[in-house]
């Protein structure tokens, strides 16, 4: 075989495409750092009960004598409490670790749930079209035209009216996850539907149809693997968005209860003491939240560009 075009620049470019993602990752220090920070935070969250110096929920271990201590590195700080203590004498650092754990858990579960739902709906809607597609997409239009936070608050309000007690941790988590997922599945459904329609028009899918493969097989074997990269990008960006939404709901007092605080709850409770000068109970959880969301966003941003080179 001696195709004249075999060695043309176009072909070289295509050959290189595979390694480019890794290359561009390693050559962007910003992204490497962000990924490392995100991983570290996830690891810390998973291991929080093991590495937190104190148990912020053990009422017996908390002493009011230790309340409102500034961070250890400031004057009047106590070496036992790295980032100081709150008004009840809880260790801020430990509370942050546990809060991080809850924030991430809610975020990850919400992303997985909405992804599973959205991808399925998008594949079916995009491939078969027709009436179901129109109805689903009108619904998506309506949801999308309302901002995330509004729908989350509304779903939250409804669920809190319907479900018995929201003080139980499991209920609170469920309410939060559902409030977020109701918004986010739409984005996957939209994106996947669009990509599915593009892929459906491509000739390899037509060839699979001509082979006689049933739609289920075509979707699973041919379409799904080819639409995963936008889904991956969306999942990353939506993880950041889910964490933000959770934090906002908790901050507004309709999320995690103060007995099982997420980062948002910590900021909410700390906010009340802002004017009494104990700024560390607000600033450190807030910084943790921003760093977490930022590093996930940086990775997502890079991923979008790397998987879709023409957007650069």
């Amino acid at each position: 075989m001696q195709d004249a075009e075999a060695r043309s620049p176009g072909r070289i470019a295509r050959l290189r495409a595979g390694n480019d993602v890794l290359d561009s990752f390693l050559s962007t220090p910003r992204v490497v750092i962000a990924a490392a920070v995100a991983l570290l935070m996830i690891l810390t969250a998973v291991l929080a009960p093991l590495i937190a110096p104190h148990d912020p929920f053990d009422m017996a271990a908390i002493s009011l004598l230790d309340s409102e201590l500034p961070p250890a590195f400031l004057e009047g700080g106590d070496a036992r409490f790295l980032l100081g203590t709150d008004s009840q004498g809880r260790d801020v650092f430990s509370a942050i670790l546990h809060g991080l754990r809850i924030s991430l858990m809610v975020g990850v579960v919400a992303v997985l749930l909405s992804m599973a739902l959205g991808v399925t709906v998008g594949l079916v809607s995009g491939y078969f079209g027709g009436f179901v597609d129109s109805v689903l997409m009108r619904l998506a239009d309506v949801i999308l035209s309302f901002p995330t936070i509004l729908i989350a608050l509304l779903v939250n309000g409804i669920l809190r009216g319907v479900l018995p007690s929201t003080q139980a941790t499991a209920t609170a988590v469920l309410v939060l996850v559902l409030s977020i997922a109701v918004n986010e599945w739409v984005q996957y459904a939209r994106t996947v539907r669009g990509s599915t329609m593009v892929e459906k028009g491509k000739e390899y899918v037509k060839a699979a149809r001509l082979t006689g493969l049933p739609p289920r097989t075509i979707l699973r074997r041919h379409v799904l693997p080819n639409i995963l990269s936008p889904v991956l990008v969306l999942a990353t960006i939506n993880l950041a968005l889910a964490i933000l939404t959770e934090a906002t709901l908790s901050f507004l007092g309709v999320g995690m209860p103060p007995t099982q605080p997420s980062l948002g709850t910590l900021i909410n409770t700390g906010n009340e003491f802002l004017f009494s000068g104990i700024w560390w109970v607000v600033v450190f959880p807030a910084l943790t939240l921003v760093v977490l969301v930022l590093s996930v966003n940086i990775v997502g941003d890079w991923l979008r560009d790397a998987l879709n080179p023409h957007l650069r």
Binding site: V142, I149, L154, L244, T248, L252, V290
Partner: protein, 326 residues
């Protein structure tokens, strides 16, 4: 014309769906009778109210009545403080609108030029720094921005107030903070808080759009015609890049109204969002339902306005094409 009719029909349909959600909330979440009467109301009083509200009639009739009431601005009485819901909302409306308008202006005036600049100078280090900063902007939740601003400018520096609207002046039913110095002072922090996220978003969108347009053939052809860079960029590329911004900006007004909930809470700004949040916390269903319908209406109107505006500015939609395809 057909297009406009179809858009209006769609809008009406969306409103009907929103009204249905609001109605179902109102009817089935909690017991409206229990919510509206005092704790010690007698059974007879309960039954009287039940009759008056028509709660025993078929659901369709009840829904029709609900829609009829909504069309006249009738949403019942708040369970929490027994005031007519519409009155509450209209009372809070000006505060939210004034906040959103200023935030939108800040976001557009800074976001668009920054986006264009960073697209045109994307190889400069300042542009990639700006990209990172904008990423921080969209990664910082509104309430954190608000708290940090309060901490710095109210608590530490003591320059600006941290809550309320300052002095207001009443013009008819509209209570404005635009006419007093303290009103403006009180507005600065909440408006900046609300604008920051949108600013970052606009900047990133405009940049992406601009980069996309700059790659297109007609921009290359404009260069090949010998047009100076300034004309190519600002007459041809920018105009095309700003087209989608009309849609986005329209949508973002809605988003600003929603995020006003958070900002108003942080700054205890007496707007609709603060009202809504209190309703969610106290499960005050009539207020939630009314807010939902009200906001839904605003969004539908915004969406239609954006679509109509779009057809007016885009010649491809304004005039039919002879050879739309190949």
């Amino acid at each position: 014309m057909i297009f406009l009719l179809r858009r209006l029909a769609q809008g009406a349909l969306v409103m009907l769906v929103v009204a249905l959600v609001a109605f179902l909330m109102f009817r089935f979440m909690g017991d409206p009778v229990r919510g509206m009467l005092r704790e010690d109301a007698t059974l007879q009083e309960q039954q009287e109210l039940r009759d008056r509200l028509g709660l025993d009639r078929p659901l369709v009739v009840q829904f029709a009545k609900f829609v009829g009431g909504a069309l006249q601005g009738e949403f019942g009485v708040s369970w929490r403080n027994q005031q007519p819901v519409m009155e509450l909302i209209l009372d809070r409306l000006p505060a939210t609108i004034e906040l959103v308008v200023v935030a939108m202006i800040i976001a557009l005036l800074l976001g668009v030029p920054l986006g264009v600049w960073s697209a045109l100078n994307r190889h400069r280090p300042q542009a990639s720094l700006l990209q990172t900063v904008s990423l921080i902007g969209i990664s910082t939740p509104t309430f954190v921005t608000g708290i940090l601003l309060i901490l710095v400018f109210a608590v530490i520096l003591g320059w600006l107030p941290s809550f309320g609207r300052g002095e207001t002046v009443e013009i008819g039913f509209w209570r404005t903070g635009y006419l007093t110095a303290s009103g403006w002072k009180a507005l600065i922090l909440p408006a900046c808080t609300l604008a920051l996220y949108q600013l970052a978003l606009f900047m990133r969108l405009v940049r992406a759009e601009m980069l996309d347009v700059m790659r297109q053939d007609f921009v290359r052809f404009a260069r090949a015609r010998g047009l100076p860079t300034r004309l190519v960029r600002f007459r041809h590329a920018l105009r095309n890049a700003l087209m989608p911004l009309v849609t986005i900006a329209g949508m973002q007004v809605g988003s600003l109204i929603a995020f006003a909930i958070v900002t108003e809470t942080v700054f205890q700004w007496p707007g609709m969002g603060f009202l809504f949040l209190q309703a969610v916390q106290f499960v005050d269903i009539p207020v939630m339902a009314a807010y939902l319908v009200f906001i839904g209406f605003i969004f539908v109107v915004l969406n239609i306005a954006v679509d109509v505006l779009y057809t007016l500015i885009d010649p491809r939609l304004r005039t039919g094409g002879a050879g739309a395809g190949r």
